[in-house]
Symmetry: C2
Subunit: 299 residues, 2 copies
Amino acid sequence: MAFDAIETPFGKVDKIIGGSATYVAYAASNFVTPVQQISIVGYDFPKEEMDSLKKRGIEMDGVEVVPDKKSFFWSGKYHIDMNTRDTLVTDLNVLADFNPVVPDSYQGADFLMLGNLSPNIQLSVIDQLKKRPKLIVMDTMNFWMDIAMDDLKAVIKKVDVLLVNDGEARQLSGEVSLVKAAKAILDMGPKFLIIKKGEHGALLFHENHVFFAPALPLEEVFDPTGAGDTFAGGFIGYLAKTKDISFDNMKTAIIVGSAMASFCVEKFGPNRLKEISKSDIDARLEEFVELVNFDIDLV
Amino acid sequence: MAFDAIETPFGKVDKIIGGSATYVAYAASNFVTPVQQISIVGYDFPKEEMDSLKKRGIEMDGVEVVPDKKSFFWSGKYHIDMNTRDTLVTDLNVLADFNPVVPDSYQGADFLMLGNLSPNIQLSVIDQLKKRPKLIVMDTMNFWMDIAMDDLKAVIKKVDVLLVNDGEARQLSGEVSLVKAAKAILDMGPKFLIIKKGEHGALLFHENHVFFAPALPLEEVFDPTGAGDTFAGGFIGYLAKTKDISFDNMKTAIIVGSAMASFCVEKFGPNRLKEISKSDIDARLEEFVELVNFDIDLV
């Protein structure tokens, strides 16, 4: 949970709440409650944002509030194509000393989503859980591959689903072909691999199977910040709701994740996610069915 | 119809047959015959390649053979990611004076595919047809947008389906968003627009509808040369076979085109297209169904 300053070709905001956990929670809470949050914020994190999350069924027992430090702050500027961005500022603040403590009330959780953070912090949460969750989903990024590859691989070995983007899949595996990269990564431990390709959709790999979910073609992508986390939140939220972790159900969960991400990018930060209703989500899922459904006659 | 010299990270060939018309014909002839070819070649175009095409039901009455000139020759080298290439040599040869003449035996054709060539040549073929085909599909490229935009727009106005890649859609429309680009291009005349995104699949736009066909994730893309033409040949071949030019049938036709393109890239030039059987095509279409099919429960 953090503050972001974001500049896109369509506008800018100087300070808006963000952070993986915020986006995951907003997305997942459409499908399942409670969402039991683990994070750290400073004295400056607004009470009304905390209340807004609580109202949606997000529990805050695992969110440490540090009274004399500021929340994590990230500032970035997107290029005209919205696929690339420059990081302008990264102020770790409270995150520099983050040692997450899993509250007793969180023990027994069946679904664990590890947002993108240092592999050691991710591992610490896994290790604190007395009963292994039914499903552990892990997000990460190239930064950890650059500076902590061994630690990262140790965590990857312990999770069920790994989420990376296409460049990260190539970096992690050393393979250019995404199909070969997927095989190499599945050999590292996870049973499922999701490769996110931004506006080009996402691929789900499992054993020798592959499933593809497109991104919805949008007239305008206003702000991509948090889209990947929102995707992850929709994905694990849907799985937690349906309690079905089969490959077939994960296909649907990926479509749900894509639908949630398509909302996220429509406004700055999590603003659009705060507005949408179940009927908005249903309507968008119907759009995905329209987008990919076809009748096939064999030749 | 032409000769290509191709270098990819996986190997090179000094001289192999190629050209839009060759790929379109090989792909389409799996679905419908005769395919009535219009092209121009030199004295050097091999008789066995002509025979190979004829054996598949491709008529050559419209292919001019120039006895004292060489066939068009293109040479290119692909980069490591296979998405970009450098053109090393372009020898127009016979193509410099190409004035296609539509044979009488071709009159009355219901489906016309205009491969990527000068807009004036494309227009000349349309104008020579005494009865307008039921469906005219047109391919083009950024080169013609650079040097002959007005001529190009005049032809675009007369066709039913326009095929371009994502960069070309942006150049033609002046819009960055592909959804906005599609709207602008549909306003130029064509009822359908296909935006090809290479390894990221293809989008079909019609009125306010959009359909997405993924590319099959392949372990190795050996040589992308001709993949776009093969896609077009599969697309129009399937439509000609089914005689159904509805949006719904075009969805299936795009999947068929994607399946044909996925074969094309497996070997140099059209080599793989020469080998495949109907059962290979059926098996690959099943892979596409697996790739995108999902069950949806509304939330």
